[in-house]
Every structure is written in structure tokens, then in C-alpha cells.
């Protein structure tokens, strides 16, 4: 048996797929070939070494592992709540939205009073002057549907 064949058989043996008769042949080769014997030791030794390592970690975390279902159930419930929340929230979300819009309107609308909401290009007015020693008073009456506007001009300032 050459070394290439032996390595294939070592892998097959590790996987439990090597017939007993071939296993005996392999053992004969390993007895006379240190390199293949080391390969065999490496392949058959890896599993127990890794299982020993994970075994230690499992022992360290045994209490937490015992409570795994409690953790999982909590996670499932939490996710279930998160999935429910959008439906619940959708029902009430318009209330803070409307309140926010109303608040913004109250805050910002007065700051724009320099702009009249009413921009007539022309209109008929009746102006009535009232004499005064200190001021010029103008009364404007545009009609029945609109309010009367009064300007009081005092020392050339309105």
C-alpha cells in the first residue's frame, strides 16, 4: 500500500467507512510508516480534541444552557410583541401627529403676520378725514362685507 492510498483509507476509517479487512491492511502500513501514522493520529485526534474543547465550554455554561427554553420563549414573546406593535401603534399614531401639526401651526403662523392673508390688487374705498391737531385720522370703509380700517397718522408715523 502506498502512502496516497493509505491517507484515503485513514479518512475512510475516521468516517467509519473502512471495511474491517482493509483496516487490518492499513494498520500494517501504519506500523511501518511514521508519516502516515502521524497523519492517522492527527485525523483521529482532531475530533476528540475539539469535543474536549467544546465540552469545557458546555460545562462552563451549563446553567445558562439549562435555561435555554426560558431564553428562547422570552425572545419569541418579545418578537411577537414587536410584530403586534405596529397595528396597535397605527390606531393611535394620528393623535400625536395632529397635535404636532397644530402646535407647529400655532408657533409659526403668528410670525408670518407681516404678510396679509388678503392681497387685493384694487378696491374701491371711501376715505373720510377727521381733523386733529396732532394726528391725521383716516377712516376707510370698503363696503359692507369688509371691515372698516382706520389709519391714524401721527407726526408722520402710523
Amino acid at each position: 500500500m502506498d502512502c496516497g492510498t493509505a491517507v484515503g483509507k485513514i479518512l475512510a476509517k475516521a468516517d467509519g467507512l473502512l471495511p474491517r479487512q482493509e483496516e487490518a491492511e492499513l494498520a500494517g502500513h501504519l506500523a511501518g510508516c511514521p508519516a502516515c501514522a502521524a497523519e492517522d493520529a492527527a485525523i483521529t485526534g482532531t475530533g476528540p480534541a475539539l469535543r474536549a474543547l467544546t465540552g469545557i465550554r458546555a460545562m462552563e455554561k451549563a446553567p445558562a444552557l439549562d435555561a435555554m427554553w426560558t431564553r428562547v420563549r422570552a425572545g419569541i414573546e418579545e418578537k411577537r410583541e414587536t410584530r403586534r406593535r405596529p397595528l396597535w401603534a397605527a390606531r393611535w399614531v394620528w393623535i400625536p401627529a395632529v397635535m404636532t401639526i397644530a402646535l407647529l401651526a400655532l408657533l409659526f403662523y403668528p410670525s408670518r403676520t407681516d404678510r396679509s392673508p388678503f392681497h387685493p390688487s384694487s378696491f374701491d374705498v371711501a376715505v373720510e378725514d377727521v381733523e386733529s391737531d396732532t394726528a391725521t385720522v383716516a377712516l376707510v370703509d370698503k363696503g359692507e362685507d369688509l371691515p372698516t380700517v382706520i389709519w391714524i397718522i401721527e407726526d408722520a408715523k402710523t
Binding site: 508519516a35 482532531t46 476528540p48 480534541a49 467544546t54 465550554r57 428562547v72 420563549r73 425572545g75
Partner: protein, 196 residues
């Protein structure tokens, strides 16, 4: 491999009962697979607390994806796919992860023959020789993530090559070459530890 014989009720029946609204049946699946799932997760992520989180998250994900499970296939193969992906994601996000260049020489026939080495065989061996345990953990950490997943599924969980291929979504040939690479790397790392 499948633990339905041990637990009594087949996995498929537990899944159907869970889908019908009985979370107790899913609790049974968790109890059935949590130990093996932890061993695989800790083999990939390295840290026990991270592994617990991975197992927990994988079961939660499985619970909500249970509708997608195809009856007739193995639950653990389906679940392990979620678990391994979750573990690899966790590993990538962790501070322990590092870029490990793929060493093609391990796949070639030119790889140097190994020296004989006394591997630890039980947790007690590693407890007695903590340095060796640390060296083994470092060697596992240094493996590229999918190579680590392959060797853990094969050596720790005892999965067959075709099952590993289904879990990782690759060919059996890829599984075998990754296993060869991983074994070689572990052997080399532990040999270096012995020589220190």
C-alpha cells in the same frame, strides 16, 4: 444522528404541533437540540456567551420560519443551516474575528507530513493542560469561518459529509477539501505549540 428515537416523538410531529399553536412542542425541540447546537456554535464563535446568544437567536428564527420547513427533510439539517449562518455572522461581528488568508498549500499534495502529537482527548485533559486548550482554541479561531464550520460539524457533531454539504450549501468535494485544510491547520498549530 436524528434524535427522534431518543425523544420518542418524531421531530415532524413536534413541528406540526408547534405550527398548530402549541409552543410546548417547540420547547421539546429546543431541549432536544440545544446541547448539540451549543457545541457547534461554540466551536464556530469560540466564546461561550456568544454561543448561547447564537443558539437562542437561531431557535427564535427557526420558530418564526417553521412554516417554511419542508416535511420529510431533517429538522436538524434545516436548523443547523440557520445556526451556522447565525454563528458565522456573529463571528464576523465579534472582535475575535480576523482576516485569515487561505493557504492553498494545504490543499496540495506537497503539504509536509505531520509529526506525531498527543492530542487532548477529554475536557479533563484540557483542564490539566490549560495552555494546550488555549492553543487549540487559537488554532480553531485562526481557521477561516467556513473551514471552522466544516470541522466542527464533522468532528464535534459527527455529521456525514453529504449532510454538511446540505447545511453549508456546497459540494461534498468542497467539504472534504475544507476538512483536509482545517485538520492540517490544527495539526500544524498544535505542533507549533508543542515546539514553543
Amino acid at each position: 444522528m436524528n434524535e427522534r428515537e431518543v425523544g420518542g416523538v418524531p421531530d415532524d410531529a413536534l413541528i406540526r404541533t408547534t405550527l398548530a399553536g402549541d409552543d410546548g412542542a417547540f420547547a421539546e425541540l429546543v431541549e432536544r437540540y440545544k446541547g448539540r447546537a451549543f457545541a457547534v456554535a461554540v466551536g464556530i464563535v469560540g466564546d461561550g456567551d456568544d454561543a448561547l446568544d447564537v443558539v437562542q437567536d437561531s431557535f427564535i428564527k427557526a420558530y418564526y420560519k417553521l412554516k417554511e420547513f419542508r416535511f420529510g427533510s431533517n429538522f436538524y439539517t434545516w436548523f443547523y443551516r440557520l445556526l451556522v449562518n447565525q454563528a458565522i455572522d456573529r463571528w464576523r461581528k465579534s472582535a475575535r474575528s480576523a482576516e485569515v488568508p487561505f493557504d492553498e498549500s494545504w490543499l496540495s499534495e506537497d503539504a509536509s507530513p505531520p509529526d506525531s502529537f498527543a492530542y487532548p482527548r477529554t475536557p479533563e485533559d484540557l483542564v490539566r493542560n490549560r495552555e494546550l486548550g488555549d492553543a487549540l482554541q487559537r488554532a480553531v479561531d485562526a481557521l477561516p469561518e467556513y473551514h471552522r464550520a466544516v470541522i466542527v460539524l464533522r468532528e464535534v457533531d459527527g455529521m456525514a459529509y453529504d449532510e454538511i454539504a446540505r447545511v453549508l450549501g456546497c459540494s461534498v468535494g468542497t467539504v472534504m477539501s475544507r476538512l483536509h485544510y482545517a485538520r492540517g491547520k490544527l495539526r500544524e498549530s498544535l505542533k507549533s505549540h508543542r515546539e514553543e
